[in-house]
Symmetry: C2
Subunit: 365 residues, 2 copies
Amino acid sequence: MTRDELPSPALLLDLDRFERNLQKMSAFAKTVGKRLRPHAKTHKCPEIALRQIAAGAVGVCVAKVGEAEVMAAAGVRNLLITTEVVGPEKIGRLLGVLARQPETMAVVDHPDNVRELAQAMERAGRVLNVLVDVDVGGRRTGVEPGEPALDLARAVQHASALNLRGLQGYAGQCAHVMGFEERRKASRRVMTRLMKTRELFEKNGLPVDVVSGGSSGTYNIDSELEGLTELQGGSYAVMDLDYRRIGGKNGAYDDFEMALTVLTTVISVPSQEMAMVDAGLKSFSTDKPFVPEAVEWPGVEYSFAGDEHGRLMVTEPGRLPRLGDRIEFFPPHCDPTINLYDRIYAMRGDVVEAVWEIAARGRSQ
Amino acid sequence: MTRDELPSPALLLDLDRFERNLQKMSAFAKTVGKRLRPHAKTHKCPEIALRQIAAGAVGVCVAKVGEAEVMAAAGVRNLLITTEVVGPEKIGRLLGVLARQPETMAVVDHPDNVRELAQAMERAGRVLNVLVDVDVGGRRTGVEPGEPALDLARAVQHASALNLRGLQGYAGQCAHVMGFEERRKASRRVMTRLMKTRELFEKNGLPVDVVSGGSSGTYNIDSELEGLTELQGGSYAVMDLDYRRIGGKNGAYDDFEMALTVLTTVISVPSQEMAMVDAGLKSFSTDKPFVPEAVEWPGVEYSFAGDEHGRLMVTEPGRLPRLGDRIEFFPPHCDPTINLYDRIYAMRGDVVEAVWEIAARGRSQ
């Protein structure tokens, strides 16, 4: 199949760019002496996770047990579930993941959760690898750095069915800070809390084999932190407009290539200034304050026009699309856009080389 | 299964409320002498479509061929595809829908599309029911009202494999105008264009058996249009925060009940002012400028905190949720929120009465 034969809207991955992205991040991690554990919440696709591992990653992160189930079933090893696993239903399913991939790690930020995990593991005769999730100022999950983190780590240590491995600190608030130096300052400021907590762990004889964090925006900033053992970036594999705009070490953020697009079709040309494509807010995520950008089609500006419509205003004369024209767009934000699709068309130029199921799509449970 | 046993985040439908919504809209349509053709793009769920028809609807609208395929396969009859079907791939699949449900209607707004549809139908030995899609000022799809619409209708008439049935005019821009009288004025202004075009059709001997339009915001406004034969509202069946805020005939918009919620679990309580739930921007759509609202849990305010996290700030003392607490939220916008889930739990009180597949989820193709 070629691009022209695909039903639109369709999610396309440019394999040449994607493969270069994987190679580049793996080579970077190797050079700086960090392990790479890319975040699979970005793509939710076992085929991509397996390729990341083949390119040198130690395993992948997932956000939820539902994603872990899909990855584990597909043979993806060394999973880290980066969000707390709370309550009997979720912990029961975590046991199912452990049955397939016993080395899977979970994170904790509350003594009650440590207790319920420890009891469930003991009853099941399992040992769960655990990281203490430290809040580095993102005001999301995580225990406070310093003594509170240390106390929680000791609670983990005391549970015979839990195996403390180290720490996690995710500074999501820093990932998209505009300008490399600004971002470096922001990340350094907050990640210092994680590093100090790491020192405290070490001083108290607690394991720090795994200290996990970082994003596609800070991978080459957090890599300077001596105590950090692994990098978690996700978007680097496919990229999006949000990352492209943050600025890189040498001006533009051209660290990774824009490999992900949404293919659309022009379904209406109601006037000389306007054309409608068949992709609206059910085909692109809307969580960013900017909109999809047409690829190799200058002179048009996209705006959302409902669930299934995108409006193209013509800004340059002679650029009016015709009925049936196919136009690709870069998505504003890759993760939630991918989560709208069931499959990704892996393209080699104009040819569909493979169709990969986004098997963990919608697996937020 | 009961609510407490459901994996979260989960999409819940309160059946008592939902059934009353269906009854109320059907009774209304009957009273005003209009046919009801609810828009199934809202729910994408054949089980719901079949219940709407059982409650009195003549059929359902769908936005895309992909949705039509799912509905047709599930035995849902009298489909109207409200978006133009353009290009050989889509038209090929439309033929598949017609093989199951020959009475299916499509809309057109361009002579080239009329031509390709006519040729494909002729080749396949099929006759396609067609409405002329009229732009009533929404700046989306649709041919201009008046003479341009008439010209297009004549092109449809001349094609032996196309069967002109009438017109469609969807005024999406009016659906959420705040205040009933303001909304009435806005809708009346634009729908007049559709009515005038209808008169022009009639005067020229063209069929106007079907004149389709309306929304859950304007159903009891558009019902006053004598020439309108059917109402298209979708959200009324389940409702959302967006519709609840627009105001109704007697002050508040309490025409239909809030039947749809997202069930979440508290997975982290990092401080005395804040708790995190396991539902973020992959569990609620983000296309509206307001956020999910906690049901029966006053004193907390939700904000998005990433793909899989929602942050609850405590605004009243003593309302801090505990780890593992289950909190339901009304979604800002029902259609794209439902599109994130694979199934809907149909609840009778706290008991799961049925699990319905959202079989057309992601079927934007």
